[in-house]
Symmetry: C2
Subunit: 136 residues, 2 copies
DNA sequence: CCTTGTGTACTATGAGTATTAGTACAGTAC
DNA sequence: GTACTGTACTAATACTCATAGTACACAAGG
C-alpha cells in the first residue's frame, strides 16, 4: 500500500558526481531497467530530501531535470509520476551526445592503458541491464 | 627539423571539459594512438599557451598531470618528452576506474534511450584507434 | 474555510574548482 | 650574459554545487 514504493536512491559521499546528478542517474536507471514502472509515484521532494538528509532544492532540481527530459510527469498538488515513454531528442542530437559519451569512454580507457577488448567485454555486460524492455 | 613536431592540440570553447583536461586527454590520446612516439618532445609550456591563447599555468597544470601519470618525462631546462611506457596503477585501481567509466557510459545510454546494441557497435569502432600498438 | 501535503520559484550565502595574471627561481644551451 | 626550458608560488575573478529560508499555487480531507 506504500504509495511511493518503499525507497529509492542512495547517495554516495565519495562519488565525484554532484548529488543532483546522482539522483537523476539513479531514477533514470530505475526507469530504464523497469524497476520503476510507468505511472509509479515518486517520493515527494521534501520526503526524499529528508530521507537523504540533503536540501529539498537539490531534489527539486533533479526532478525538474527528469521532468524536462520527459522521464517524469508532474501533477500539480499531487506529486510526480513516471511518464509514458516518448521520443525526447532529435536523432541528430542523440547521435551527437552518444558520440561524446563514446569519446569520453575511449579517453578513459586510454588513460588507464586498459586492454580495449576487455573494456568492451565489461561494457557489453553492463549494458545488458537496459535490455529487459523486450521481455515484457 | 621541427623539434616539437609541428603542432598538437585543439581546444574547443564549447567543450564542457576544463581546458586543462582537454589538453590532458588530447595528449594522452596522441600517445595512445602512436601519433606521438616515445621520446618525442612536446611544445613548451609557454609556447603551447601562446598558440592556444590560454594561460601558461593551465598548460603547466595539464603537463604536470601527465607527468604524474607517467605519460611524460621532464628534463629540467630542456623540455618535456614522451616517457617510455610503464605500469602506472594497480590492477585494482584500474578496474575500479574502468568500472566508473562503464557506469557513466551506461547512464548516458539510458538517458538517451539509445539502443544498447548500436551503442556497443559505435564504441567498438571507436576503440579500434587504441589497438595499433600490436601492429608495430 | 482551514489545514496539510504536493510541486515550483525565488534570493542569498558559503564552499569548491577552473582560469587568468603576475612574479620568481632553478636548470640548460649558446 | 642571454634566452630558452620546467616549476612554484600568490591573488583575483568567474562559475558551479549545495544549503538555507521564504513564498505561492494546487489538491485532498476535515
Amino acid at each position: 500500500m506504500a504509495r511511493t514504493q518503499a525507497l529509492l536512491i542512495q547517495i554516495a559521499t565519495g562519488d565525484p558526481r554532484p548529488i543532483s546528478k546522482q539522483i537523476v542517474d539513479g531514477v533514470r536507471m530505475k526507469i530504464a531497467t523497469g524497476e520503476l514502472a510507468v505511472g509509479a509515484q515518486l517520493p515527494s521532494v521534501r520526503g526524499l530530501a529528508q530521507q537523504l538528509t540533503i536540501n529539498p532544492n537539490t531534489v527539486a532540481k533533479a526532478y525538474a531535470e527528469l521532468t524536462g527530459e520527459g522521464w517524469l510527469e508532474a501533477r500539480q498538488g499531487l506529486g510526480l509520476y513516471v511518464a509514458t515513454p516518448r521520443q525526447r531528442l532529435s536523432n541528430a542530437e542523440r547521435d551527437r551526445r552518444l558520440d561524446d559519451a563514446v569519446q569520453s569512454f575511449v579517453h578513459e580507457v586510454a588513460a588507464l592503458d586498459y586492454p580495449p577488448d576487455r573494456a568492451l567485454t565489461r561494457l557489453e555486460r553492463a549494458l545488458r541491464v537496459l535490455a529487459p524492455k523486450k521481455t515484457a
